[in-house]
Symmetry: D2
Subunit: 372 residues, 4 copies
């Protein structure tokens, strides 16, 4: 089977580079179109990222980012006509959006691509709260993909659409919560403190002066996202095809930036409803959790979405962030909470599972469901 040609918007940034890295080895998709800021336009991709290539390729991909991508001429991401031409020429069936610009600009630009018939699988936060845009974690709410027909109808779009993924900070606890909810253990309240890696701020992102021998106990906008996005993801599509957000859990998030390169830690305390699982049940549910990506054997799906570690001091970013192609959530320290019911530590790789890898898995899901 020949591969599906795809585009990457914002291809030269931290997450964009992770996209082209991961796509270099991808069995279904192939990066054939790259767009970025006007400053990069006209250069080859190799030239555009020279001196600011951030990914340790050997960590994620044996093949490197490859000759093919390196030789692409980067286009101006603001110029949708270039993408339309590539689309017509069979070089860009859909795009991944890792755009880094103002929220309003991204919102408008992603809509322009979709309106032109080019589906947008996005990492950006611009459309996360747009009612008819699904915010997908492939293992949690794959059925939200079915908002796409409504979205197309609402906007008069024929083939284009927009699907987004949530913020990187919520990956370390949202899937574990969902696994418990699926077994009838509803979580009413949640207190989470995150310890987030610097790559989450992009590049150049956090100044070394601010973070060597230091913690910054604040990340602008991150706590609000961490508290609210799970409610849309846990939402249900009602009879009218409209997504109704979940009312629970009530979440309080405290987000810290720490001197770690990759991997977001979440220290979580959960209060369940009337039905409360035992520690052993929680471990069993998480260890056994499988979802559509696993069943459909989507190529980027981790074998086990949630890996349970029994050691006293795990998960750790350095040791666990790359688990199962950096696509698994690793959990540990599952123990009783003196204030709520059960507490644990979760970890996921923020630029793979929490960004480009999660986006690619979403695209695989959408392909599997026939939307791509």
């Amino acid at each position: 089977m020949s591969k599906i040609p795809v585009g990457v918007l914002g291809a030269t940034g931290m997450v964009g580079q992770m996209y082209t890295s991961l796509l270099a080895d991808h069995p279904w998709f192939e990066a054939r179109y790259a767009a970025a800021s006007p400053r990069s336009a006209g250069k080859t991709y190799a030239q555009a990222v020279e001196g600011r290539w951030h990914i340790n390729r050997s960590a994620v991909s044996a093949a490197g980012w490859g000759e093919g991508v390196g030789g692409l001429i980067v286009e101006d991401a603001n110029d949708v006509s270039k993408a339309i031409a590539a689309h017509k020429a069979g070089r860009c069936a859909f795009v991944f959006s890792a755009l880094e610009m103002g929220k309003d600009e991204i919102r408008a630009l992603e809509e322009a691509y979709a309106a032109a018939g080019i589906p947008v699988v996005s990492n950006a936060s611009a459309h996360r709260w747009t009612a008819d845009v699904p915010m997908l974690i492939a293992e949690v709410n794959p059925h939200h993909a079915d908002l796409i027909p409504l979205q197309r109808k609402n906007r008069g779009w024929d083939k284009g659409f927009i699907a987004v993924k949530p913020n990187c900070s919520i990956q370390s606890y949202t899937t574990p919560l969902w696994a418990l909810m699926q077994k009838g253990y509803g979580v009413k309240r949640l207190l989470v403190t995150t310890l987030q890696a610097v790559s989450g701020a992009g590049y150049p992102g956090v100044s070394s002066w601010d973070i060597i021998d230091n913690i910054v106990p604040y990340i602008g906008g991150e706590e609000e996202k961490s508290e609210q996005e799970p409610l849309k993801i846990f939402g249900e599509i009602n009879g009218g095809g409209v997504l109704v957000n979940a009312a629970e859990p009530k979440i309080s998030a405290h987000c810290n930036r720490v001197p770690v390169r990759d991997g977001h830690i979440a220290c979580v305390s959960m209060e369940f409803g009337v039905k409360k699982p035992s520690i052993d049940e929680v471990k069993k549910i998480w260890s056994e959790f499988r979802a559509l990506p696993q069943e459909a054997q989507l190529p980027s799906a981790p074998e086990r979405p949630v890996i349970v570690r029994e050691e006293a001091d795990r998960p750790q970013p350095r040791k666990d962030r790359d688990a199962d192609k950096a696509m698994a959530v690793t959990v540990g320290r599952i123990r009783p909470c003196p204030v709520f019911d059960i507490r644990f530590v979760g970890l996921s790789h923020n630029t793979v599972r929490g960004a480009a890898g999660g986006g690619i898995l979403n695209a695989e899901l959408l392909k599997h469901k026939g939307y791509l």
Copy 2:
């Protein structure tokens, strides 16, 4: 006034060095006796710490650790007779204990010093839960010093006694809690996640291999201490002179080791009882909080025990740990909690306020109260 001669047990370790550093400039006390492991015994203090002097003296003390201390002959801390001789010779009125050995050994050894008539102001955890031993934070429970007569009576000790300080991890939130409790705002439940510096583990402590580009979400025994010690500190002495621990707040602590040299961060969510303060009241109470050490103008007392920062991203270890001679607790990000009532971030310097500086302040308090 000539200075009171004091001894330091465990003088060559991380905390012991901080003791001798801080005492170098002290207006009341002077280190005249140093004891450590048999390996160091017989060397001068300067020789014993050569090549493993850990304190950046200029950060804490303009005077350095001084010729006087450097020239002391280190004694074997296990050999109490040496201390007794020094005590009789007027070179050791009391001792600070920064012993690093097994808990049972420390417990027995501290009792031996006290039985010999040498008061012990200790950093060790060995006697924290001994019922008649006060566990003091000078601004919070100075009245617990009045357990000392009972302690002496219980044990038949004449002049010796043992007073301890709590674990370094609780300094960042216990004093702020107390200030609120004093104003009638009882805290019922508390969820705290700490981000603790490597100096808290002593020296060599945490391996660099474990912590560069990493977080270790576990510190053995630390969560139990963080949850339970405040209850003794908040306890009241009943009519019979016996200390009764507080029943609240119920605390859940999650303790992480982070790649920071000094300064423990605490991310805290508080649930109050019926009477709930506003954000502004909390800020006002903390800003205005003063206690016995301030009123008595004890030399190591910070001017303000709790410093409130209004910036969005403070406190930070690097910027705030040295506030007010590294003896203040700095708090910030005081804001509503979606799950409990109010949340904040606290910070204190773990080897100064949380260890040697806190111990010295306790000694100043005990002197002020006439026990030394």
Copy 3:
């Protein structure tokens, strides 16, 4: 004596903040004028640096940056007329330049201040190679200050002038070399490898992504400066009053950026001429070295410009950078070199001795010599 009012250009940057911090306690000078980019103009200094105050004040100054400076209205540094007005109003006798802009712009702007009668004591590199501008290390070439009359004559300036300081990277070896040269031990060739702290790049400077768990073995332009600037500093003023650069030592510098906040390390191998000192002579010469700033007891002068450490593993940035108000160079590991003659490790604090502190010491020297 009332203090001399001074201005700081580029007052909101990393080095500018160090200037206002150090001046807060200065016995001779007082910051009464602050200028920065148009973005900061019109705000109070406290507002302009809010949320980006970088200096750990307690590490350098007990007084903090003070109410006085905090309340100053920041002016646009490009608008010399504002400085002229302040100069006339007795609020700006001279300026420290910590400007961060293009080299040509700085060169022109510093000349404009000087032409207006306002002496400029600069940290910028723009005028380092201007023939009649002295590049001063107060302990090494204080006599170069006597280029100022020539400079004024050349340019038709009455009271203004420009004096600069060299790059931070050369502080760790230039003064030690000079001390040896003064004793007749000329250094012919020098190989130096520097390990430079991130603060040398200003703020935000080095991205945390580039430096956590990493070394960057390159700093643009730094090796050229490290190789050439000592030759001007070691130069002599000939009979015609013109500065003639030294021909030796020939220097090869390799500059690395390392994950350290402050303090530049230099690993140095020296080849002497015919006259070669012994290791002991080198230690003695360095330990005993004193120069004009020490003799004149300039307030920022370190007591010993070069501190010799005998421990096997010193100097270290964390332990030695703050030595003698962060104004001393600390050297250690003085030992034979199998290839050249003698090798050693030098260290100095790059933003104090190597930047603001060195600039202030230069101003003290210029005041002492009657140029200010």
Copy 4:
């Protein structure tokens, strides 16, 4: 072909773990015997390393350390009889030595294994200067393996022998030097400053307190090794079959410990003899360099032993240490030296190329040559 069963001595340490990790996927060898300190003896390997497994397996090996190794019962490395039994039982054809104990003990123990007929491929420094023991870098001096018959004869050993590898610090420059020497460009003098990762000190190794925000400009014994070991490696076997060390280059090494996990940087200045290459020739020679491991296609051999990077700021530990299975040396910044002739920066992975990977490649070489 069934795999050759091998043993690992010191299997639970930092380097020992790297051995078992790398062997998990090895096409020729299979770890069937593991020995360590008496403390680990009797446990399964999985139990012995529990809670102190250091290797981020996914970085080096897709297979992990595998069920087979994990289930091995660890023996006491001091008890050679256990290895002899395993040897006879076909579970230990030869051993890799990653022993961590006193030099004299290691020397004696390795001899005991060899005397018992079990070849020893060692990482330890104990036998590096034993005259008839080859110190091998597979690409540089594979012909030194031919000291083995002499060694056996000298000692009356039948099948056993000892072969060692050099110190990790020299890997980043020795192979590049050799490539130039092979083309007739002899290097007379060399000044090298290394920036070495913490993993080079083993585990727990460097205290985090010593290295966060710090550099330690000293590593005990490392400079001597860095200066002298290349001379044995560059030596020639004379007519009498005896190895005669090279007289040149004369090397001066300055070794620093830096806050980096893996990867040793070397900043090198080279002085050639009469025949001096151009920069372009150096690049060409290094890019084209291939040696016996490449020609024989040994499984652990990097495709290119020396990778030349043209970017201004490479090599960097984080970006280049894993190049070609972490077995290549990456060089960059090849440029003229103002003092010597040419300078460059070299980098290699110290625990793979510089330790376990280098040892395995040596074993492959010895197998290829018929000694195993």
